[in-house]
Symmetry: C2
Subunit: 414 residues, 2 copies
Amino acid sequence: MKGNVIVGQSGGPTAVINSSLAGVIKAAKKNGAGKIYGMHHGIEGFLKEDLIDIDDYITGPDDLSLLRRTPSAFLGSCRYKLPQIEGNEDVYDKIFEIMEKYDIMYFLYIGGNDSMDTIKMLSDYAAMKEKPQKFMGVPKTIDNDLPLTDHTPGYGSAAKYIATSMKEIIRDNESFGAAKPTVCIVEIMGRHAGWLTAASVLSRGEDCDGPDLIYLPEVPFDLDDFMEKVKHLAETKSSVVIAVSEGISLADGRFVCELGNSNDYVDAFGHKQLSGCASFLANKVTQETGLKSRAIEFSTLQRCATHMASRADVTEALDVGYIACEAAMQGQTGMMVTIQVNSREPYMVTYNKYDIHEIANVERKVPHDWIINNGTYVSDKYIEYASPLIIGTILPYYAGGLPRHLTLKNKAKK
Amino acid sequence: MKGNVIVGQSGGPTAVINSSLAGVIKAAKKNGAGKIYGMHHGIEGFLKEDLIDIDDYITGPDDLSLLRRTPSAFLGSCRYKLPQIEGNEDVYDKIFEIMEKYDIMYFLYIGGNDSMDTIKMLSDYAAMKEKPQKFMGVPKTIDNDLPLTDHTPGYGSAAKYIATSMKEIIRDNESFGAAKPTVCIVEIMGRHAGWLTAASVLSRGEDCDGPDLIYLPEVPFDLDDFMEKVKHLAETKSSVVIAVSEGISLADGRFVCELGNSNDYVDAFGHKQLSGCASFLANKVTQETGLKSRAIEFSTLQRCATHMASRADVTEALDVGYIACEAAMQGQTGMMVTIQVNSREPYMVTYNKYDIHEIANVERKVPHDWIINNGTYVSDKYIEYASPLIIGTILPYYAGGLPRHLTLKNKAKK
């Protein structure tokens, strides 16, 4: 018996965040952990001692298989940022008190940049106070913006959903032909990094032209140039499909979505909730050209479509969870597991662990030389990079024609 | 040799409109047709003699299988309404001239209400002028609003997509729990008939509560009552998910989407292009309650997601195409094939043919007694009705991790 394990999920869910949870559970069992606790709604729930006994819900391989086919955070997520240590020792003392109360030695946190910051603070505090508990980060974000890892679990499945849906939308948009030219503008998540929007190019192939224009947030958006390009395309093509990131902004720094009158919110991390740049652009196209236009937002569908998960992604999500938990139980702390791609064709990966200080709060963007055609498309280098990440499927378990999910409402029958 | 066949696709595409095309092709070959022509963009293309030789693209069962896995209208669609016969005989004469020129004896049209009107006019004209050509309608519409048929091919797959995505959205919306209650409003197609919006209830099951409120266009929408219900739900639940039809309107007849400042268009049939009622309602919720809200529109995704097609739907779509073509070649005309459900459990269907005059321009809505809770939910009668329509899957053919499609750009290698 090596002490108990606790695992939490944080930030925006992904299609495979539960596969990482499954990996943590597998490693904990394999390495002889005592109890396995889940944080109900991440560190926020943990601070309220809202803990879940994993054995109450997951008792064998069937449950784990269903867990891997369940979207969103099985344990519940949160957006809670730990305060700085200095002046807030009471918060940290409370966390360690709870850990000691439940004999928790290993703390696994599945999340993105903000969650890795949590791991950094807790492992720093443990070092400062000479505490024995181990803290490991499990990478997760559809945004693919964590540094030092080739890519992030969650990204491949989101990219597969985006490329598949983009392909279907392009087919649909072509259906009326020259009699009814339509400009379709598809808005894709990614505030500062264009990885998700870039994935729209993967729809291109022998049976699909892919989007005509692709706008990432890494480069300034030129509204006049955009309108010129749309007019030109509409003269030569009956179907124009454009992918835009929610985070595109003008050279003067204003977000395109702020140019309209959309409703803006600010979340607990001070992130502005952006929405509506596709609507704004579609309206502008119709007003200035008379062309029919349509705005489509993938919204949360792109992060929860587990029915479209990539097999490569599901596998890696499980692996990083497994390796993080195993490493913690072997005494490692203050690190995040990363994916290293040794060969893209054939696709072969190994996993590393990096010091969390090199990762927390660093945002990795699409390289500038992968953004081509004056900021309106992405290069073949991106396609080489992303193609292996969307390979393979994991079929849902169906009941009544719909994918089944595992939920906290259904306690396992023991 | 019995003369040539022509087939066209019209109106908004569906996930299975190409399965009906496959059915027509199969029946034409089986019944010894000469050439099989496709109308490039429906009757509109036909009037320009823009015909496709099906043999150039589809040469065997592999092509037919891929066709059935291809979304949107393979032949291209149109929204073109034939003028009334009186005073426009030249248009009709031209159609029959083209048919005679290409030795076309059998005219199959796959579409919804407006397309069945085309079949009615052409068969009426043929009767009037004692022409020998036969005209048969193949039902297709995600809206499910054609009369006399139990349901319409295209509906089951759209319903499956809506229910699956709704289930994934509900899981996602629950992830942050009580710390961040979110009201998510999902806008679903269906201007006058609520069949598609009703399908959101199919997400309900042992692993999902389904949407909290469901608003169909069949009953007037009460904005004050809606706000009261949302406030009440938000007091007791951390996640509120609401399904609304794009066509909901107030008792005074104004569309909810018109209450905001959304951009409106009018298509060639005089249909207003509605959009934005979910955005309007989400904004209103946040303004009046301070709650976080999110608007999601399925947009064209719900009609083109062939990767999520229902096996029952795909099968029936093929069958109605097959039966319509076979009937035409056996001398029948001026009819549409309908689906009769003899038993819902186990699910058993037969097919009938109805006089097109009883069908064209009649819109079938959700029965009023299936709409319950003061117009905010649908009854178990609807669930009994729709459940068998979403059963079974037809897996895409994958290449590079994405579903492959058959397109007019890829001529068959003969």
